[in-house]
């Protein structure tokens, strides 16, 4: 067990290294010379060279990368061009807003998908199965930003039940997820986020459950005289390790993929930050946000793998 965990942790290091390389490369593929943007139109060539040297941009790329990485490791991801504030603080503040709704969404999706998956697999081919499969296909195919717009049309415009955008008057400071007057701002973003993982997880649960139900040991359980509910519990326990792994993976996807949903609802998370960075072409902010999100995704995957090996003893043997 410990050996597996250690091996898995060590394997994460080169991946994280690769992530930093890609994030560094993002600035390099961005068109335009960053120095030209800082200079006044009348500046001479010598001025440009001096400024270039001052920012360390005259050094070869590998050297620039090492300098950049050194700064990132101590938490310095540069300054946002638009606001002239440190990127690190801005990203971390936004990250909290994203991870909370992503976690709520993924847990809802997990619970519902387990129920749906069991119901569909229990009478596979029946009407319930068909209805649930339709919901799942819808969840997989729907563009989340459109779903967001539809939710706004229904619940904010037509019914006026929920606020359309933002986090309320208080903003993210002092936002209380436990009080309804604050939480209602989060309801629609959570629904829009939860639907795609709900679709994916329902499909997976359904197909792996019906595979299990076709195995011989299920016949034995029935022959032994267990009720259908007890048989189902056995089957569900069998797919849990895979389902938990799926849960973690989907959480990671939501954290990275929330950019569209957050844009629709102007929810001040990392996704909204990314959108802002794109609109203002604020490359340091873009780079910092991507770096934090990708690192979070890698770490979530690591935790999921470790948790899975705890639940399922078969894993560490392979």
């Amino acid at each position: 067990m410990w050996l597996y965990a250690l091996r898995r942790i060590i394997l994460t290091i080169p991946i994280l290294f690769g992530v930093t390389v890609i994030c560094f490369a993002l600035v390099q593929i961005a068109p335009g010379d960053p120095i030209q943007n800082l200079l006044s139109p009348t500046a001479s060539q010598a001025d440009a060279e001096r400024l270039r040297a001052a920012y360390g941009l005259d050094k070869p790329l590998p050297v620039q990368y090492v300098i950049w990485l050194g700064k990132v490791l101590v938490g310095d991801m540069g300054m946002s061009i638009a606001n002239n504030t440190p990127v690190t603080g801005e990203v971390l503040r936004a990250f909290m807003n994203t991870i909370v709704i992503a976690m709520i969404a993924v847990v809802i999706a997990f619970v519902l998908s387990t129920i749906f998956g069991v119901a569909a697999a229990y009478r596979s081919g029946g009407l319930v199965d068909k209805a649930i499969t339709a919901v799942a296909v819808f969840g997989i195919s729907v563009p989340t930003f459109w779903l967001g717009v539809i939710l706004v049309i229904i619940f904010a415009v037509n019914l006026s039940w929920l606020p359309a955008t933002g986090m309320g008057a208080g903003g993210s400071k002092g936002f209380d997820y436990l009080s309804w007057s604050d939480f209602r701002f989060a309801v629609m973003p959570i629904i829009a986020l939860a639907l795609p993982p709900l679709g994916i997880m329902t499909r997976t649960t359904r197909s792996s459950l019906s595979e299990i139900l076709n195995q011989d040991f299920v016949q034995t359980l029935r022959a032994k005289g267990l009720t259908e509910t007890e048989v189902m519990i056995h089957a569900v326990r069998n797919i849990m390790p895979a389902a938990v792994a799926m849960l973690g993976l989907q959480l990671g996807y939501l954290i990275g993929g929330s950019v569209l949903v957050e844009t629709v609802f102007t929810w001040p998370g990392t996704g909204y930050l990314l959108n802002k960075a794109i609109l203002t072409r604020d490359i340091p902010l873009l780079q910092g946000t991507i770096l934090v999100l990708a690192t979070a995704f890698v770490l979530i995957n690591l935790v999921v793998d470790l948790a899975q090996s705890l639940i399922d003893p078969r894993i560490k043997r392979s």
Partner: protein
């Protein structure tokens, strides 16, 4: 007489007998597909969507770029505007037909490019194994460290908007998953007896790759690639929604959705139309790839 022929074939199978009596692989696929009405319906739907995009100039009742301040945000069925008009008074139906061109292009071209490039890398990695495999697959692992939407936004956000950049971004995003599927399939085929037999008879590596490996890797890779079409369409429309796709006057479903978002209080139904187009197209592609997977009996 016919019995005699049948008997003679059954008793002494000649060289031509198997091809005459046993269904080919694709014949079997078709046999399974022809009773799968959902898939057939979706294939027909996709053909319809593609045709309407291709023939948009002939089908569109109006010029998709001609705006009219007098007819802004008209409801569905207003006078001659079947689907209403957008925020600049342009005919929605015409823009939807033209928009399909960009959106379908974005769904299909990156998938084809990524299948060729990713498939090639995957087959090479799977066939040669060892260091080549390590080199290719570990590089792909780094891209797997990014959720696909994030990777798309990262690359597209740095490169900037525009149709070429969008296509480039989507291709890069789709290469790693295809590469992984191709690699898995290849390393399974590589150790099969018939590949060993081919090697023993002195077949060259190239001929083994093309005549034996590629054929067997093809169906899992193609089925997988077909699932990516809807993902690509959704990703592309998402990028356009963020302003990273085609530039404004051009019609594109994602961009239309984004500009009409300001008008949901005035014309909620009209604002929702581009999204319906994306949804229907993406559902159709998803169901077709499900059907293909079942008909081709691929587990992936």
């Amino acid at each position: 007489m016919t019995d005699a022929v049948a008997n003679s074939l059954a008793v002494a199978p000649s060289q031509s007998a198997p091809t005459a009596r046993v269904r080919s692989y694709w014949g079997g696929v078709w046999q399974r597909l022809r009773y799968d009405y959902v898939t057939l319906f979706c294939i027909a739907l996709i053909i319809l969507i593609v045709l309407s995009a291709v023939f948009a100039p002939w089908l569109a009742p109006f010029d998709p770029y001609k705006s009219s301040m007098a007819n802004r945000l008209r409801p569905i069925g207003y006078k001659q505007f079947l689907l209403g008009t957008d925020e600049q008074g342009r005919d929605m139906l015409s823009r939807l037909l033209y928009g399909g061109r960009v959106s379908l292009l974005m769904g299909i071209v990156p998938v084809i490019l990524a299948t060729v490039i990713g498939g090639l890398f995957g087959v090479v990695a799977g066939y040669y194994g060892r260091k080549v495999n390590m080199g290719i697959m570990r590089t792909m692992d780094i891209f797997f460290a990014f959720p696909s939407v994030l990777l798309a936004v990262a690359i597209s956000g740095s490169l900037g908007g525009g149709i070429t950049n969008q296509m480039l971004t989507l291709t890069v995003v789709l290469i790693p998953p295809i590469c992984r599927v191709a690699e898995t399939a290849t390393s399974q085929v590589r150790n099969m007896d018939f590949v060993d037999a081919a090697r023993a008879t002195g077949a060259s590596t190239t001929s083994i790759l093309f005549t034996h490996v590629l054929i067997n890797v093809m169906s899992p890779v193609l089925v997988y690639a077909s699932t990516l079409v809807s993902i690509s369409i959704i990703l592309a429309s998402g990028l356009s929604f963020l302003g990273l796709g085609v530039s404004p006057p051009t019609a594109d479903w994602g961009l239309m959705l984004s500009t009409l978002r300001q008008s949901i209080y005035v014309q909620p139904l009209v604002s929702a139309i581009p999204g319906v187009a994306i949804l229907v197209t993406s559902i159709a592609f998803n169901l077709v790839s499900d059907g293909l997977r079942q008909a081709m009996d691929v587990k992936a």
